[in-house]
């Protein structure tokens, strides 16, 4: 394999992994935007939903039913997390909902551990395997499927937020929660919906992750969530397009780190990138500086 082929193969690997980070980051960023709160249970919702999809597929449920059903379970989890961890703590110190979300995440993780154990499982969905040769670089059908599905879901989310009435209500709540309430927007219901949409997209990303790497494991949610957060920070948190580009960029950087430095340090390099970005531009690479209100 020549230098350029290896180089572009890393980019292809990076884009398919990055599209998953981007999808998680879009959901994460959307949920962050509405209350300005990090949802630390996002990753574990994703993990649990993926395990549910795996269990349903193993039980013989066809994929067209199992995958949407798992995504709905993710939405249900999003709702429960909002009700249990965020709603009772609204108006408290910022640390309080962060901690309660971690509490819920640990409970979800323990439940998954009791049901499915701690071993790494293969994902039982077989995607037809083809390899296309594009200018000497092999692109697998799995990579195309993952990238296309993630892109499609992100475009759908974008239009949902921009064009529908519910999306408009979400944007209004995000801009000014009090004013939105005065305008007659059912604030609490809209917030619940954002969390549900976040869980829905999160499980979709989890299933794509499972298809891409053919694995399901207990800590997949946690690591992917931290990476999605990095992607969201690179793009400027709360900014959906930024989260999308941040995810792709992170995927490519990681693929280069794994391909040229060492695959053991892949995650360390991604996390180091987070620290550097936060040190240099605390508001993200793509956002303007905002002064702190006193």
């Amino acid at each position: 394999m020549t230098f350029f082929e290896y180089f572009f193969a890393q980019i292809v690997n990076g884009l398919s992994a990055g599209s998953i980070y981007a999808l998680v980051a879009v959901g994460y960023s959307m949920v962050f935007g509405v209350l300005q709160m990090h949802n630390f249970a996002h990753g574990d919702t994703m993990m649990f939903g993926t395990y549910c999809a795996m269990a349903m597929l193993l039980a013989g449920v066809p994929a067209v039913v199992a995958i949407p059903a798992a995504m709905l379970i993710g939405a249900l989890f999003g709702l429960c997390i909002e009700r249990l961890a965020f709603k009772p703590t609204r108006g408290a110190h910022r640390m309080v909902p962060t901690v309660s979300a971690i509490g819920v995440a640990l409970i979800i993780r323990n439940t998954a551990q009791l049901i499915w154990g701690t071993s790494t499982e293969p994902f039982p969905l077989r995607v037809p395997q083809y390899t296309f040769q594009v200018a000497g670089i092999g692109v697998s059908s799995t990579q195309i499927l993952v990238f296309a599905t993630a892109l499609l879901l992100m475009i759908a989310t974008h239009y949902f937020v921009k064009k529908t009435l519910i999306g408009k209500a979400m944007r209004a709540v995000q801009q000014d929660i009090d004013a939105a309430g005065y305008m007659g927007i059912p604030v609490n219901r809209v917030i619940s919906m954002v969390y549900m949409l976040g869980g829905f997209l999160g499980v979709a990303a989890g299933i794509l992750f499972a298809i891409n790497y053919n694995t399901v494991f207990l800590m997949m949610g946690f690591t992917t969530m931290v990476k999605a957060f990095i992607a969201a920070v690179i793009g400027g948190i709360g900014n959906l397009q930024g989260a999308f580009f941040g995810g792709l960029l992170l995927g490519v950087i990681e693929a280069f780190a794994a391909g040229y430095i060492s695959s053991g340090y892949r995650d360390a390099i991604a996390l180091g990138l987070l620290i550097i970005v936060l040190l240099m531009r605390p508001n993200g690479l793509l956002s303007a500086k905002v002064a702190v209100k006193v």
Binding site: H38, V99, L106, V187, L271
Partner: protein
């Protein structure tokens, strides 16, 4: 839930009476009991649990300096614990350093890394810092795991030599118990002196309102870095003792789970409370170490405790810190002038 919250937050006359006793007497009594124990008992299992509780108390006190005293949200205490353990163990194995020096070296090494993590704390606050510290802890774990030449990789360092103090090697759990009791006493004494000093008051000012602290001339960056250095150094001390006591150091001992446990201990005991932290460690570590059957349910225990504390009693068992959002004090809803103002979130 309101009723439970009310019950937990009412002050019983007994509690008021107990609180009138000067706190130093509790320490004297606890120390006396702990010193009598080795004379009357030879139960190695009990001393093992007590040693672990004290090691985790030191570790969690470090977290409490950062989060409870100085108000910086950190979630990477396991990294400092690991740095301390590896430093001390590697120095004694490869260079034959006497243990007191290795202990100091691990505190200094962890403190230096604390400084490194503290720098982002100057620039980013709140939950961003939270993720930076999670990220830092994960980087350290990956370094422990992948730097085979020094850390032994995934296998770790088995058969760590026991601590030798002034020509006397520690072999029994009882001896380790006495060592950790001594270290914990020194740490508790030092921390009480620090929070009573101007450093402690500056920490408190930074925690309550950074902008106001800056306005009265407190060098916020300096105190944040100091808190991180101090908290990390305590983590390093705990790691140093734990590495020799468990006779094994490996990347699996310094994961996100250890950081989570430290966090639960601090929140359960109460932010900013030194006796609370020790109580929290006694409850959590005591439960996990004595009931091995709990291991499959440990995330339930930790997660349930986190939820219960923040929803029912945010100040923890013995804490006094009231977490509040910075800015003007909240308006009293019984206030006549504001009673008629609509409450948009409640109506819908």
């Amino acid at each position: 839930m309101e009723m439970v919250r009310g019950l937990l937050n009412t002050r019983s006359p007994i509690r008021t009476m107990v609180e009138r006793i000067p706190p130093v007497w509790f320490y004297v009594m606890a120390l006396a009991v702990m010193l009598v124990l080795p004379i009357v008992s030879d139960d190695a299992f009990m001393f093992r649990i007590l040693t672990m509780i004290m090691i985790w108390s030191i570790l969690a006190l470090g977290q409490n300096v950062i989060t409870g005293f100085c108000g910086q949200l950190s979630f990477g205490q396991a990294a400092f614990y690991g740095i301390g353990a590896y430093t001390s163990v590697l120095l004694t194995i490869h260079f034959g350093l006497p243990y007191p020096l290795a202990l100091v070296a691990s505190a200094v090494a962890a403190g230096l890394f604390g400084l490194l993590v503290g720098y982002p704390a100057i620039r980013v606050g709140g939950d961003y810092l939270f993720l930076v510290t999670i990220g830092f802890a994960e980087i350290m774990r990956l370094v422990f795991l992948n730097w085979d030449a020094v850390t032994g990789g995934a296998v770790g360092i088995p058969n760590v030599p026991t601590i030798e103090l002034f020509g006397h090697a520690l072999y029994t759990n009882k001896e380790y118990f006495l060592l950790s009791l001594f270290l914990l006493s020194v740490v508790v004494f030092a921390l009480h002196r620090i929070i009573a000093s101007d450093i402690g008051r500056s920490f408190k000012a930074v925690r309550e309102d950074e902008i106001a602290a800056k306005a009265v001339g407190i060098n916020v960056a300096r105190y944040k870095l100091l808190a991180f250095r101090l908290g990390a150094a305590l983590g390093g001390i705990a790691g140093s003792v734990a590495g020799h006591f468990l006779a094994y150091v490996g990347p699996d001992n310094f994961t996100n789970w250890e950081s989570t446990m430290v966090f639960v201990i601090v929140l359960l005991g109460g932010l900013g409370s030194i006796p609370g932290t020790i109580l929290g460690a006694a409850i959590l570590i005591g439960a996990f170490e004595s009931a091995r059957g709990l291991v499959d349910y440990r995330l339930y225990v930790a997660g349930g405790l986190l939820l219960a504390v923040v929803l029912l009693k945010p100040s923890g068992l013995l804490g006094s810190v009231k977490l509040r959002t910075p800015g003007p004090p909240p308006v009293d809803p019984t206030d006549e002038a504001n009673a008629s103002e609509p409450q948009p979130n409640k109506l819908i």
